[in-house]
């Protein structure tokens, strides 16, 4: 045992909490080192003296003064209604969470309500639709022309429905 370990274990030794092995090495160090032995006797005297320190007692009118002060003091820490606990919840938080849930519900209902919303109904132009309407279809000879004119969305809808120069419907899908 060295001086550092000795210092760490002084209290344990004095309170008889060391194992037999540690106790022996503690006592060995106590005998061997003058500095450690001074620390030991110092701590021992301190504990002894602390227990014998004079006890102070309150003045005779302490209770009277205390009750006078309590009467004078209005409860500074009175728990207000909205801060009280009801089944683990505070009313102000219950109210807050109720309002926020209502708001969330309102927003969700508005988002998914289809009745009032304007939805552009885009029907894909398939071959049957075009033929039924008898509308003239654009004539293109190659894919690159088509690609440069129509965007991808439109392309998806109509690229299958072009007619070639002979008037036949041609599927241009790559």
């Amino acid at each position: 045992m060295n001086c550092y370990t000795f210092k760490d274990r002084v209290s344990d030794y004095l309170e008889k909490k060391l194992s037999i092995y540690d106790k022996k090495s503690f006592e060995k160090q106590l005998k061997a080192c003058l500095c450690c032995s001074e620390i030991y006797s110092g701590v021992k005297s301190l504990i002894f003296s602390s227990k014998k320190l004079n006890k102070v007692s309150v003045s005779s009118d302490f209770n009277k003064n205390l009750f006078v002060k309590i009467k004078k003091t209005k409860n500074p820490n009175q728990v207000k209604f909205y801060n009280k606990n009801f089944f683990g919840y505070k009313p102000k938080y219950i109210f807050g969470s109720f309002v926020s849930s209502l708001m969330i519900l309102f927003i969700i209902l508005n988002l998914f309500d289809n009745k009032n919303s304007e939805v552009i109904n885009i029907q894909p132009k398939n071959e049957n639709n075009i033929l039924k309407n008898n509308q003239p279809l654009p004539v293109f000879s190659n894919q690159s022309v088509i690609d440069s004119i129509v965007d991808s969305t439109q392309k998806n809808n109509i690229k299958n429905n072009f007619l070639n120069s002979k008037g036949q419907t041609v599927d241009y899908t790559p």
């Binding site: 760490d8 006797s41 301190l46 003296s49 602390s50 227990k51 320190l53 007692s57 309150v58 820490n77």
Partner: protein
Amino acid sequence: MANKIKFSDKELMLKFQNGDELAYNELVNRYKNKLLNFIYRYFGSKDDAEDILQETFIKLYYKKDYYKPISEFSTWIYTIAANLSKTELRKRKRRKTSQLSEMGVENKEFDIRYEDDTDLEINTEYNEHEINKAIQDLETPFRTAFILRDIQELSYEEISKITEVPLGTIKSRINRARIQLQGKLKEIYKNRS
């Protein structure tokens, strides 16, 4: 002679929570001197200690509903007293620092008094005034742990609950406080010789 029923602290506290002010009075009587001795070691002045003690009991009066019977009443009341003492110490430290910075070097007062006639041997009893002075020079966490253990004679477990610090830390704080204190006292006695 009628036998007086002795209620436990917890029972008294529950009675007080239900509006019985006599129970409060009984609790005050039970703890006033214990707590005064605890607080006194922080400040070294009885008047200051009584003021903090009064505040502690006022807090107990108004915060009675915060007490839950799952914890020991003594632990709870000691925690209140310790916290109030620490707060007061912090305030004083701030005040002291500002006052010192305003003072010139020649105006500084050093409050170190020695007794005239002393026994210089290290393993004799230390003088009470010196012990109090040395305790007040300790850092607050060490001071609290030392007072609760060596003056109030509470168990390590109780101290751990009061200070809300793990048991191992408390043990080490108490040991370190003792080593520091004996070092300080030894120095004082050596200087005197």
